[in-house]
Every structure is written in C-alpha cells, then in structure tokens.
C-alpha cells in the first residue's frame, strides 16, 4: 500500500518528493487536473498548495459484488504515472486486492482506521450490494450491507467507484438474481459521489480525489450524482466521428467500407448520444484511444442499467422486439377482421335495399 515507514505523518508533497517527482512534474499534474475539472489556471497554485500540505487522508476501500475491474483500471501502471503516485500518497488503509494483510489482521486494520479517523476518512466503494440474501456476498462473514452501513457511519464522504457501486451494474442486470443495489440505494445520509463507468477512466477518480483534497468539498454533481467536470457532456457531443453522424455516413458492419473509413457507429448500436463520460476527450490508457476510436460502438457503461438497454449492437432508438413479425401477424388477423366487418356492412346494406319501399309523392309529407 504505502511505501514509507511512517506513512501517516508525511504530507503529500513530502511523499511525492521522496519519489523523485520534480516540482515541475508536480505542477504539470496540478495544471492538468485543474483543466480537466474546468477550473481556471489561477486555481493551479491553490491545488498545488493544498496537495503539498495535504495530510494523507485515510481511505477505506470496500469491494462488494464487483469484478475488480475498477481497481485494475485505477492501478494500471504502464509507467510510473503521477496518478499512481497520488495513490501512494493517500493512506489506503483497507483494500482487498492491494493490501498485504489478510484475514483478521486486515479487518482489524480497517476497524482501527475507522476509529482513528472517525468522521474524516473517505469511503470508496466498488461493486454492488446484494439485498436478496445478504449471504450472497460477505467479507469475513460480514454481509456487504452490514459492512457498508457500519463503515459509512464515520465517513466524511463516499465515492461510489464504477457502475456497480453507482447504479447496480452487472449484478443488477435483469433478472437481478441477487437483488443487487447501488450504494445510494442504501446510504441516504451521507454525501455520495458517483463515479460510474465499467470501469471508470483512471484520471476521473484521481480528479475527484484531488478536488476533495484541495477543497474538502464535493465537486459539482449532475442529477445522477456524477461530477459535472467529467460527466457533463455526452460522448456524442465530443466524439471525433460526430461529423459523420451529421452527414449521415454510418458503418453498417464491423469491417465494411464505412468502418474502415472511420464512419459513425450509431447504426452498430453506439450509445454515445445518451452516455455521459469523458471518454471522447480524456480517452483511455493515458489518452491513447477509446472504444469508438478503436472501432467499437460505445456501450453506455457510465449510465444506469446499461446492461438492460436492449443490446450493445442495437441503437437506443431501435425497437427491441421483432416489429415486422408483429406487423405481419397483425395484418393477417386484421385481414380476417376486415373481411368480417366488411361482410357485416354489406349484409346491412343488402338488408336495407331489400326492405326498400318505393318512394312516391305521398312520402314527401307527414
């Protein structure tokens, strides 16, 4: 977890310097973070200052029904990135995958951190919480539900990392056999920041953390509790292939002419228009690429219930049932109905004609 012997006493600035991070690199990181969070350049010194002096806050990371993809994303270390070092500079007091301890020792460490930093520690959650039967997912015999409610009590704020913690994610997909719910479905009395994505982009989480470290407050959130700085625009509005959408040039299959020319992937089911994330601008793997650029339609992974959106390869505006079959059956039934109704009409008309009494001038007045 931490590299220093007395980690809790070092400030973030000291920690970074001890890693050999130059002031220049540090400031570059602060500038990048500021711009990503849509803060003005004048904020850079503030960020730098705050991070410098930030006492490594205690962070407790709870992993529930998850695939560990969020952790994988956040700890991607192709190179020693500053993001990773930021991680070194918080006191990650509890994390299943990354901690060295296990068993009772690990649980004891968690309880100690909670007690010591009561009211001040950051609670990070990934994975959903099963309500169907608490036994579906337990840690040290404690159900996810109990552990969450317990740990949330003394937290300063909660960050739900990944779509599972933010919205329920994969486990929540139909038919939701475990009764999986999001953190916000259980905890109602704490500030929660949702950082969805399957997984989220690494720099998004560090941006949120940096904001918290700098200002001690939550960043501006949208109606789904997601930081506006990263989730304020749709993929569609920032996608480099948007001109093709506007011109009506679409790839029809995965290796046709259009696909090769990099045309819009809407017809292949891209959920860009209804998905809010930073993928199109910030991208992945240190800004290398993102799914659409790689030729795969956006699956909408930062949106609630994206697994139940009717299929990754069907555009959101498309029907999910076989409409042409429905129409044909309806037409067949209707043809019979129309014949019946038509015959009724004819019958009535014939009957009226048959009972026709020839009108004479005597019929003109009562």
């Amino acid at each position: 977890m931490t590299k220093e012997i007395s980690p809790k006493d070092r400030t973030l600035g000291e920690a970074l310097r001890s890693q050999g991070i130059s002031r220049r690199s540090f400031l570059k990181f602060c500038a990048a973070t500021a711009s990503m969070m849509a803060l003005p350049p004048t904020m850079i010194p503030t960020i730098a200052n705050a991070l410098e002096k930030a006492k490594k806050p205690s962070v407790i990371w709870l992993s529930f029904q998850e695939c560990t993809g969020c952790t994988e994303s956040l700890t991607r270390a192709h190179s020693a990135t500053v993001e990773n070092l930021i991680f070194d500079s918080i006191s990650l007091d509890y994390h299943h995958t990354l901690q060295a301890a296990s068993g009772h020792a690990a649980e004891a460490a968690r309880e100690a951190a909670m007690e010591e930093n009561k009211g001040k520690y950051l609670l990070v959650v990934d994975g959903s919480i099963p309500l169907g039967n608490p036994g579906y997912s337990t840690i040290a015999g404690i159900s996810n539900l109990d552990m969450l409610t317990d740990t949330a009590k003394g937290a300063a704020a909660i960050i739900s990392v990944g779509s599972c913690a933010a919205f329920g994610g994969i486990p929540n997909a139909k038919p939701n056999p475990t009764g999986a719910v999001a953190v916000s479905d259980i905890i109602k009395d704490k500030d929660i920041i949702n950082v969805p994505g399957c997984p989220p982009i690494p720099v998004v989480i560090t941006g949120v953390l940096t904001h918290f470290l700098t200002f001690g407050t939550l960043p501006e959130l949208d109606h789904l509790g997601r930081p506006m700085a990263f989730y304020g625009q749709s993929i569609h509005d920032r996608c480099y292939r948007r001109p093709f959408y506007d011109k009506g040039l679409f790839a029809e299959t995965f290796d046709d002419e259009g696909a090769r020319l990099g045309w819009c992937l809407y017809k292949l089911g891209c959920k860009g228009p209804s998905t809010y994330n930073a993928c199109a601008t910030t991208k992945w793997n240190g800004g290398v690429s993102f799914p659409i650029e790689a030729g795969h339609p956006c699956i909408g992974c930062s949106e609630p219930h994206f697994w139940d959106g009717g299929g990754f390869y069907r555009a959101l505006s498309m029907p999910t049932e076989d409409i042409s079959k429905t129409a044909v059956y309806a037409a067949a039934g209707a043809a019979a109905g129309a014949a019946a109704v038509g015959m009724m009409n004819r019958f009535k008309k014939n009957k009226t004609s048959e009972s026709h009494e020839k009108a004479t001038i005597d019929d003109l007045k009562k």
């Binding site: 109606h223 749709s234 509005d237 959408y245 506007d246 011109k247 009506g248 679409f250 809407y266 017809k267 228009p273 209804s274 949106e303 609630p304 219930h305 994206f306 139940d308 959106g309 009717g310 555009a315 959101l316 505006s317 498309m318 029907p319 999910t320 049932e321 409409i323 042409s324 429905t326 129409a327 059956y329 309806a330 037409a331 039934g333 209707a334 043809a335 109905g337 129309a338 014949a339 109704v341 038509g342 015959m343 009409n345 004819r346 008309k349």
Partner: protein, 220 residues
C-alpha cells in the same frame, strides 16, 4: 421505473402494441370502406374512369385554380409546409431510416441532419400557426371538434419531443427519447380512429372523385 426501463418498455412492448393497433386498425377501416362496393355506372361514358381517377390522385394535390389559392392561401400553404416537413423529418432522417430498415428490410439515403433540423423547426411553427387559425377562423370553429385538437396534438408532439430530444434541450436524453417514441406510439394508436386515416383513404376519395368526373368528361 427507471429511465432506461421506461425507454426499454417503450421500445419493446409499447411499440408492439402500437404496431398491432396501427396495422390492424388501418386494414379494418379500409375493409370497412371497400367492401361496401359501388354500383357500376350504366350511363354512356364520355371519358375513362380509371385514367381520370388515377390522375386525380396526383392532381388534387394542387388547387384547381388561382382563385381557390387566393381564397384559401393560408390553409394550402401551411398545410403544405407541415406535410412536407413531416415527410422529411420522418422519412429522410438517418435514425428513422435506420428504424424503417430494421422493420421492412431496406432503407434509403438520408438528408443531412442540419437540413432536417431546420425543416422540423419550420414545421413546428406551421403547426402552431394552424392551431391558431383553427381556433380563430369562423368556418373552422364551426367545423372543428375535440378530435381535431387531439389529432393536432399527437401530430406536433413527435416533432416537438423529437426536436427537444435530439438537441438535448430539456430533461435527460434517455427520458426525452422515450417520450418521443411514446408520442409516436400515441399517434399510431389513435391513427385508425381519427381523421388521420385520410393518409390512406384520400387515395380512394380522390380516385372516386376523378372517376365520377372523368366518366362525364370533366378533368377534376
């Protein structure tokens, strides 16, 4: 119900129900009309029924003379604007063509989105003007009933919700998209029971009109 569940219902069972009512309703209405039949004309013909009938289907799109256009300028012009607008926004807009291709197996090229967008705006304005006209003109007030206003509403709703959804102007995009599709489903469900049937029956009516006239040697 969450947003995406609402959208999933609207895209799924909702669309199915609407399709059934739409298709079945139209076929039954047409059967109701056609199976009544019409007596053969026994008088000596001066012109061809079929030719004149087919011709009138097309020619009736235009007013018969300038005088008629002058007397009914607003009705004709606004009517044209929103009908053409509906045609363009429904059939020449990429996501819609995609939907149609999915249902009937083939599609066709689309118009650039910006053009469709502008036409949508013009159509909405025309429809608003038409509503005002219907509410203020004395002939139209005499002629109109609840059905006319309901049909007006289900005609403008898809245009409005579609425009709002596309531009992300109001509410969440998933909900707006769902509302847009729902508004179309409402239109489909009401279609066979209202004057919207004129979409299909006008071919019959114009044909009969032309046939009757043409039989007597009058170009209609």
């Amino acid at each position: 119900m969450s947003e995406i569940e609402f959208l999933s219902w609207v895209r799924g069972p909702g669309f199915q129900i609407a399709t059934i009512i739409f298709v079945a309703g139209i076929i039954i209405r047409l059967g109701e009309i056609l199976l009544l039949g019409r007596k053969t004309n026994l008088a000596e013909a001066k012109g061809s029924e079929m030719r004149s009938g087919m011709r009138t289907i097309a020619s009736r799109m235009l007013p018969p003379d300038m005088e008629t256009f002058k007397r009914s300028t607003f009705t004709i012009t606004a009517g044209y604007i929103f009908h053409i607008g509906l045609f363009v926004t429904i059939f020449l807009f990429a996501p819609h063509i995609l939907l149609i291709r999915d249902i009937i197996g083939f599609g066709w090229p689309s118009l650039p989105t910006q053009i469709v967008d502008a036409i949508a705006v013009v159509s909405i304005i025309a429809l608003l003007a038409i509503l005002v006209h219907r509410m203020t003109d004395k002939v139209l007030r005499h002629l109109s009933g609840p059905q006319d206003y309901i049909v007006w509403f289900v005609t403008i709703a898809p245009l409005l919700t579609g425009y709002l959804a596309f531009h992300r102007l109001v509410g969440s995009p998933v909900t707006m998209l769902a509302l847009h599709i729902l508004s179309v489903e409402l239109l489909m469900v009401l279609f066979p029971f209202t004057k919207l049937m004129h979409t299909f029956t006008l071919f019959l009516a114009r044909w009969y009109n032309g046939a009757i006239s043409g039989y007597r040697g009058v170009e209609s």
